[in-house]
C-alpha cells in the first residue's frame, strides 16, 4: 500500500496520497512536509462527510475532483474491497499534469484494491483521530437514551457501497422499486438532518423490517419512523408532505 501511494507522491505536483475507509480511518498515507498523518486523518474524516453528500446525489460515483484556488483534491471510489468501502485521495497543487495524473491514479486505484483484498486493511494506528461525525449526528461514544431513536454513528456502518444495488451497504431490499424508495427517502430527509439521513434510513429499515429485505409495501411505517427523527414540527410536516409526492 505505502509503495503504491509513494508512486503517486512521486508525481510532480502531488503533495499527499491517502486511502481511507468509510469511517475516515486511514488505511495508508504518504505525504510531503505539512501533509503528515495527523493532518491526513483529520482531512479523511472531513472527506467522509463530503462523500456522504455526493452519494446522496450520485450513488454510483467513481471519481471526484475539487478545484481550489491553490490546488486540487482528487478522490477515486475504490468500492468495497474486503467488504469495507474505501476511497483514494490525492492532494495536488497547480503544477499537476491532470491528464497524466488521471492515468496514474487509475492504475494506483486498481493496485490499492488488489492490495486491500490480498492483504487486508491495516488496523488504524493507536493515535488515530476518530472520524468527524456529520453535522447533527449524535456522538458515537455518548450513551443512547431510552426512546431516543437516533442511531449512534459508530455502529451504523456508515458507507454507501457499490456492492449494494441501492448504495445502502448494510441493509437488504426486495426489489429495485424499494431501493428507489429508500434513496428518495434519504434525499428528502437530508434536507432536514443533512447527510446523516442515509444512516437514519438504514437504521429505520432495520427497525421496521428486521428479519426480511425491505419492501416498499411497508414504506408507510418507514416514513413514520423517519419522521420521528425530526425534532422540529414544521420540518417534520414538510418531510411528510414531500414524501407523499414520491
Amino acid at each position: 500500500m505505502e509503495a503504491i501511494l509513494q508512486e503517486l507522491l512521486d508525481l510532480a505536483g502531488v503533495g499527499a496520497a491517502m486511502v481511507f475507509d468509510g469511517t475516515g480511518r486511514l488505511a495508508g498515507h504518504r505525504g510531503r512536509a505539512i501533509y503528515d498523518r495527523t493532518l491526513c486523518e483529520q482531512v479523511s474524516g472531513t472527506l467522509v462527510k463530503a462523500i456522504d453528500s455526493i452519494q446522496l446525489q450520485q450513488a454510483d460515483w467513481d471519481s471526484v475532483t475539487a478545484q481550489f484556488a491553490d490546488g486540487k483534491l482528487i478522490l477515486r471510489n475504490l468500492g468495497s474491497p474486503g467488504g469495507r468501502a474505501h476511497t483514494l485521495a490525492v492532494v495536488a497543487d497547480a503544477t499537476l499534469n491532470s491528464s497524466f495524473a488521471t492515468v496514474a491514479i487509475r492504475v494506483a486505484a486498481n493496485k490499492v484494491r488488489k492490495s486491500i483484498v490480498e492483504g487486508g486493511t491495516p488496523a488504524p494506528t493507536a493515535g488515530a483521530v476518530p472520524a468527524a461525525a456529520p453535522a447533527g449526528a449524535p456522538s458515537a461514544s455518548s450513551p443512547q437514551l431510552p426512546g431516543e431513536s437516533k442511531p449512534a454513528l459508530g455502529s451504523s456502518g456508515l458507507s454507501w457501497s457499490k456492492v449494494s444495488s441501492v448504495g445502502f451497504s448494510t441493509i437488504a431490499v426486495a426489489d429495485p422499486a424499494s431501493s428507489a424508495f429508500l434513496t428518495s427517502c434519504a434525499k428528502k430527509l437530508a434536507r432536514h438532518v443533512g447527510p446523516i439521513a442515509k444512516v437514519y434510513v438504514e437504521e429505520a429499515v432495520r427497525r421496521v423490517s428486521p428479519d426480511a429485505p425491505f419492501s416498499v409495501s411497508i414504506g408507510g411505517r418507514l416514513v413514520q419512523d423517519l419522521a420521528g427523527q425530526i425534532e422540529d414540527a414544521d420540518d417534520r410536516a414538510q418531510f411528510l408532505a414531500s414524501i407523499e409526492k414520491v
Binding site: G15, A16, I34, Y35, L39, Q42, V43, T46, L47, K49, A50, S53, I54, L56, Q57, Q58, A59, D60, W61, D62, S63, V64, T65, A66, Q67, F68, A69, D70, G71, K72, L73, V91, A135, K187, K188, A190, R191, G194, P195
Partner: protein, 107 residues
Amino acid sequence: MFDLALIGGVPGVRSAVLGDLSGGYLDALREPDGEGVAAVMGFLSSAMTQAGDQLGLGDLRRISFAGEGTACVVAFAGASVMAARIEPARSLAAVEKALEASLLGKG
C-alpha cells in the same frame, strides 16, 4: 450569480439547480427536486471547503463528480452555488470549460 438558462443550453447539461452556500434553494431548470439537490450541495460545499482549509488549498472553486453514465459539476460564485447534472458523463470536461468561459465572460 449564474444564468441557469445559459447553463441549461450547454450540450450535455440535463438539469441545473441554483442555491446558496447554506443549502438554500433559489431556482431550478428541468430538475423536479431542486430543493433536495440544493440542500445536498450546501452540505457538500461546506465539507469540501473544510477539507480545503485543512489542506491549505485556498478558496473552493468547483467540484465535479462522475459515475458510469452521469456526472455533476458544482460551481461557486460568491455565495451562490450552481449544480448541473450532465449526461453522458463524458460531456463533463466540455461543460466545465463552457462554465469557466461563462464565468470569466461575466467577470
